[in-house]
């Protein structure tokens, strides 16, 4: 480059400062926009249906029953952070809850062993997904689309496509019947897992390395980050959390059915992307995801209390997913997508 042009360039950083300079309160507002949106939804339905919506039983039910979805979403954001997509989470959930039912009810296994088997399925699925993604270098979207469908086939097979009830009542006790401050224990499990993930993502080098693996895989590799191992760990973690979600799912009703769980995939994705617009905007984060789940579920509960049909769920979750992704693109200045799709 020429010596001639020395000194004639205005520095780009000053330009950027002008462009980027944003009042601090706007940034703070962005961080908590999701919480505000949740409150707004509560207020709207509270006004429209004060008797049935604004009741403690309604809210404690929401908190308790949706813990499953929270945990599933938390499982999903782990590989998403490392740049991989796991479409098999909902099928892992379904298969693990069915495994508990089949082993506990059909084969008389003690509930503890049945749960251990369910968790083992989560680990195995994570390893399987990681193997095909990392060893054969196939996009995780394709691999997990396949493994998910495969697992669902197993679920239908071992259950004869029917619902199995009568799971050991201690599980139901531990998940939904026992309440603390009026809220079923399931909620506290989800919060505990969210807090563990906050710790891992925010305060450990593993969490930061996973973030680099997702955002700059070559950068991470050249900095000596064991990229393959990090992605493996993330797949396994997502499998395990999905299996835990499956365990709670079985515990919520004391039974396992082969299909309803699979419908949780879309809400989980919607919540993951919606959550990424908040708390630490532009990043998948556990607290944002948790709040997003409750925002979405509150909206749907409100609508159904108003007497609107169940098809509204699909409208709501499908719309929320696309809007959430569009929002997160806005947050990140449309410069790159959160995932390399």
């Amino acid at each position: 480059m020429g010596d001639v042009i020395a000194g004639s360039q205005p520095t780009r950083s000053t330009v950027n400062q002008i462009r980027r300079g944003r009042p601090r309160f706007l940034a703070e507002l962005e961080r908590f926009a999701l919480v505000l949106a949740w409150l707004v939804v509560i207020v709207i339905f509270g006004v429209l249906a004060p008797e049935s919506f604004l009741t403690w039983p309604n809210f404690s039910t929401i908190f308790g029953s949706q813990a499953v979805l929270v945990i599933l979403t938390l499982g999903l954001i782990i590989p998403l952070t490392a740049g991989d997509i796991d479409l098999s989470v909902a099928q892992v959930l379904t298969l693990s809850s069915m495994t508990i039912a089949v082993l506990n009810v059909g084969h008389g296994w003690p509930i503890g062993l049945a749960i251990a088997a369910a968790l083992a399925i989560g680990v195995a699925t994570g390893i399987l997904n990681a193997f095909f993604t990392l060893f054969f270098r196939i996009h995780s979207l394709i691999v997990t689309l396949g493994t998910g469908t495969f697992l669902h086939g197993i679920t239908l097979w071992i259950s004869n496509s029917s619902t199995i009830g009568g799971i050991d009542w201690t599980l139901v006790q531990a998940v939904i019947l026992t309440r603390l401050f009026g809220i079923p224990l399931a909620f506290y499990y989800a919060v505990a897992i969210a807090l563990v993930l906050v710790y891992v993502f925010e305060f450990t080098s593993l969490g930061r390395k996973a973030l680099f693996v997702g955002r700059g895989r070559e950068v991470a590799r050249l900095a000596g980050v064991p990229v393959t191992r990090v992605r493996l760990i993330c797949f396994i973690a997502s499998g395990v959390l999905s299996a835990i979600a499956g365990t709670l799912y079985a515990g919520t009703s004391g039974s396992a059915d082969p299909t309803s769980g699979t419908q949780l995939m879309l809400p989980a994705f919607a919540a993951a992307f919606l959550g990424a617009t908040s708390i630490t905007p532009g990043r998948f984060n556990p607290l944002g995801s948790t709040i997003a789940v409750y925002l979405l579920v509150t909206g749907i509960t409100g609508l159904s209390i108003l007497g609107i049909d169940t098809y509204v769920q699909d409208l709501f979750y499908g719309g929320a997913l696309v809007l959430a992704v569009a929002l997160s693109q806005l947050v990140r200045g449309r410069e790159e997508s959160l995932t390399e799709l």
Binding site: V4, S205, L211, V219, G282
Partner: protein, 527 residues
């Protein structure tokens, strides 16, 4: 072995096909082109030469409609070009461009590649593959090419791909421009052997004989002399020389490219210890002849050459970022097989790599300055299983001071910073580890002039501390500013070495330009 050609249309004898009149263009206040004027006649092959940053690529981008000039105009045939043009529109004006990357889809067949742009342009809903194939065959045989229309492009030899890209560009001209047309070849030859280059030139000459004007962009003076009728040399955005090839010597070209001497900030000679710090023995990889190098403590060695000469691979191979076939490296008292080196092993041996691809390989630019700086030392920032954001920011704040990273806001995303400051982030990230061997690739690419001096200082400071530095660069001015020794590569091997006071921008450029022909080696070029 110059082929006989019909009479080229030259100089003022006829109305030129392409007229570029008084083009100027600035980017963010930096002048890239300054009053550039040139003309190309029908059937003329016109060379375009100049350094990186001379304005060559800006001119090509203007001609292909990407940028609009600030002033001046471009006329082709009878028409003024309304610049900038929407993508693909330049075809309509009888202009076709072959970029170095060629723009072929490897997994598709020769015929499909030949048709691809026509498919986009024509509304014809039905493709008649039989006819398309016969047309392709006819086109190939007219120009003596033996390409199989059904072959996959990925199976073609490099030269066949280049030939296909050129004939495709020409075929797009054929049915758009009435006559003439302009074919721009932007360095299509750097990875080809001499024999292949001849084959390619024969095609280009045959096309020019049909009245097409050709602009041939190249670093290689010998090729330009061999192929062109006239040539324009750009330097610092201006036309440094307009030459009629037949009447110009190689040294005319070289002195026009290099220009007169500019005051350089060559540092005072340093005394380098005699201690060997790193020894590379017999490094082998595809495209590289066995490479040997001994680096002393505190020594800065530059690697350079023309595009495709292989010098820029060396840092990546030593670091384990790209796979090597063999060789050993001894550094920091250990000897390792280079083929086994991984980035983390390289880091343990005290090596760091500053890659040339900043957004792709050096920083995750959506993450913060602080996080990027902390990446190689997360483990060290982890006293009690708690790396807090505050700790990371605080760590970065100290380094932002040392490396003058502006603005001093470590939590800001790297992409918000200027190129120079991004590069300071990369240097801070790696130099904080106190490496013994620093591998650099194009360390000042995309770095503004002010920050460039600072980058030089950081590199020199690291060398003074005792680190050995290996710097691959195509910026000869930079090599002059920082190097104690410069190795010049050609076709995968070191063909020339400069050291001490021999290292001038001129000398490096001259050796590079001569590295392919080689007959002017050592001859002084006066500025």
């Amino acid at each position: 072995m110059i082929l006989e050609r019909g009479t080229p249309v030259l100089e003022d004898s006829a109305t030129p096909n392409l007229v570029v009149q008084g083009i100027s263009k600035s980017f963010a206040g930096a002048r890239a082109l300054d009053d550039v004027t040139l003309s190309v006649g029908y059937g003329e092959i016109h060379g375009l030469l100049g350094h990186n940053g001379s304005g060559k690529s800006t001119l090509i981008k203007i001609l292909s409609g990407v940028h609009a000039p600030d002033s001046g105009h471009v006329r082709i045939g009878e028409r003024d070009l309304p610049l900038p043009l929407p993508p693909g529109e330049f075809n309509r004006f009888g202009i076709a461009v072959v970029h170095q990357a060629l723009g072929l889809v490897p997994s598709l067949s020769v015929t499909e590649n030949l048709l691809v742009r026509r498919l986009v342009r024509d509304a014809n809903p039905m493709i008649r593959w039989g006819r398309a194939k016969r047309e392709a065959e006819a086109l190939f045989s007219r120009y003596g090419l033996s390409l199989d229309p059904d072959a996959l492009v990925s199976k073609l030899a490099p030269v066949e791909r280049a030939l296909l890209a050129i004939i495709r560009a020409f075929s797009e001209l054929d049915d758009t421009a009435g006559d003439g047309g302009l074919l721009i070849l932007d360095e299509p030859t750097p990875f080809l052997s001499r024999a292949d280059v001849e084959q390619l030139f024969a095609l280009v000459r045959a096309l020019a004989d049909r009245g097409t004007s050709v602009i041939f962009v190249s670093h290689d003076v010998d090729e330009v002399i061999d192929l062109t009728d006239r040539a324009t040399v750009l330097r610092n955005g201006r036309v440094a020389a307009s030459l009629t090839t037949r009447n110009a010597s190689k040294s005319d070209f070289i002195s026009a490219i290099v220009g007169r001497s500019l005051n350089m900030t060559r540092p005072p000679p340093r005394t380098i210890g005699a201690t060997q710090a790193a020894v590379v023995t017999d490094l082998r990889a595809s495209g590289l002849e066995p490479f040997n190098l001994t680096l002393r403590r505190g020594e800065v060695v530059g690697l350079t050459g023309l595009l495709g000469s292989g010098y820029d691979w060396v840092p990546y191979l030593l670091y384990g970022a790209k796979p090597a076939d063999g060789g050993t490296l001894s550094v920091g008292g250990a000897e390792v097989a280079i083929a086994d080196v991984t980035p983390s092993a390289a880091m343990r041996l005290g090596m760091v790599l500053v890659p040339g691809d900043r957004p792709g390989a050096a920083v995750a630019d959506g993450l913060s300055v602080a996080e990027n700086i902390a990446l190689p030392v997360f483990g060290r920032l982890l006293p009690r299983l708690m790396v807090t954001g505050a700790r990371i920011n605080q760590h970065a704040a100290t380094l932002a001071e040392d490396f003058d990273i502006r603005p001093r806001e470590p939590e800001r995303a790297v992409r918000d910073l200027s190129g120079g400051n991004q590069q300071k982030v990369v240097l801070a990230k790696w130099l904080q580890t106190g490496p013994d061997l620093i591998l650099l690739d194009e360390p000042t690419q995309g770095v503004d002039v002010g920050a460039r001096q600072q980058v030089y200082e950081f590199i020199r400071k690291a060398a003074d501390r005792g680190a050995s530095i290996l710097c691959a660069s195509s910026d000869h001015e930079q090599l002059e500013a920082i190097c104690d020794r410069v190795l010049i590569f050609s076709r995968g091997r070191v063909v020339s070495t400069l050291s001490g006071d021999e290292i001038t921008k001129h000398a490096i450029t001259e050796r590079c330009l001569n590295s392919l022909g080689g007959n002017l080696q050592g001859e002084a070029v006066n500025g």
